[in-house]
Amino acid sequence: MEQERKAWELKDVIMMAILGVVFAAVYMAVFQGGLVISTALTPFGLANFGFEIIYGIWFMAATLSAYIIRKPGVALITEMLASAIELLMGNSGGLTVVLTGFIQGLGAEAVFAAFRYRRWDMLSMSLGGMASAVLIFCYELYYLNYITLDPALLAGQLLVRFISAVLFSGIICKLAGDGLARTGVVRNYAIGASADIVKIYDEEE
């Protein structure tokens, strides 16, 4: 019975893919915003911080979908689907965007797995985002050649990335997930079982 409950259904996969599309579009939009901040910080050599401030947005697809569907593998697969969609849209970051999605998804997935997929709250989601931040940072030391930069600068970047991860993938995703649950549109998913539905969203209303 437990096995059946955890098995993936087509609607789960479509939901992950659709959330992947939504967040891939958001990623592309915020990239432009990050670029503006980054350009303003360029003369000081702090351009990286323009993206660090919003880095947590890149972990949102994983934590939000996992919070809604609550099944093993959801965070990892959603992040990979989102990165594949980014690739389809044309990404200036290069081809490793899919690899990046895998690493980020793996971080969040590891935290949810550590909680045995039983704890779904702001703490687990924030830790999921922070784990994604750590893993992707380690990868960037090599891939983005960050290893040649001042360790003090890198420590500052990681700190800002942690704060961003908690804000976006923890706090905002929790609020967004609860908000969605209240509308009733996710009543067929695990999150809907415990939600206090105040309004059933209906297209015909």
Binding site: L10, I14, A17, S38, A47, G93, T96, N145, T148, E203
Partner: protein, 233 residues
């Protein structure tokens, strides 16, 4: 480039990216960018389109130049840039960081601008054995993207009509989009199941993505010859 198998092209260009990441050489980065830009133009992409796409890349590269220039790892630190670069100056580090941005973007755009999206998913399904439920899920979601863009514009217009100013990624804009998206995902999965799609039953392909000799040549060049050259030179 357009006729290459997308899965083989992906692996080949990914291998080039990994070699460049390990190499940390501005000359190699610049060569990769120039070659990518030339191949993009030869593939029929307009120069103006490419230049417009490269504008944000140039800004990011400028940012990385100053970061690399001002914050080079000191030689006394456990991790020293001198151990990785042909020169140890701040200027070389800045140029390396900036050229890396151009090289990665060039390779990324070379793939994105010369690859058919549908063929790419079909190729990934066949060559990478991507489970069909993900392949078709991805295609279905990709098909819904224009509706999402339209919904986003409609919501934005509604706010504007009421005299309310919202940011492009404002929660006020994204909340209705998320609600709609969840509804679409439900409707899509029901529609797919009603048309006989099953996650488990195997499907045939009318024109499967094949690997040709030119794909093998590209793979050998990028995954064997280039890494070998990187070690030897």
């Amino acid at each position: 480039m357009r006729s290459l198998n997308p899965a083989c092209k992906f692996i080949s260009l990914l291998a080039v990216t990994v070699v460049l990441a390990g190499r940390m050489d501005p000359l190699w980065n610049t060569a990769a960018f120039i070659l990518s830009a030339a191949l993009i133009i030869v593939s029929g992409v307009r120069i103006r389109t490419l230049l417009l796409l490269l504008l944000p890349v140039a800004l990011a590269a400028l940012g990385m130049f100053f970061t690399g220039y001002r914050f080079t790892a000191d030689s006394a630190m456990p991790v020293s840039s001198a151990a990785f670069l042909s020169g140890s100056s701040q200027l070389v580090n800045g140029i390396t960081q900036a050229s890396r941005v151009f090289a990665y973007a060039g390779l990324g755009y070379l793939f994105a601008l010369t690859t058919d999206r549908i063929l790419m998913v079909r190729s990934f399904r066949r060559q990478f054995h991507l489970p069909q439920v993900f392949a078709y899920g991805l295609l279905a979601a990709w098909g819904a993207f224009p509706h999402m863009a339209m919904e986003y514009r409609k919501t934005k217009a509604a706010f504007r009509a009421r005299g309310i100013r919202v940011f492009p990624v404002s929660p006020a804009l994204l909340a209705p989009l998320l609600v709609k998206s969840v509804r679409w995902s439900d409707e899509l999965s029901i529609a797919m199941e009603s048309k006989g799609f099953s996650a488990r039953a195997e499907r045939s392909d009318s024109s499967p993505a094949k690997v040709h000799l030119r794909d093998w040549i590209m793979l050998i060049l990028c995954c064997a010859v280039l890494p070998a050259a990187s070690i030897l030179i």
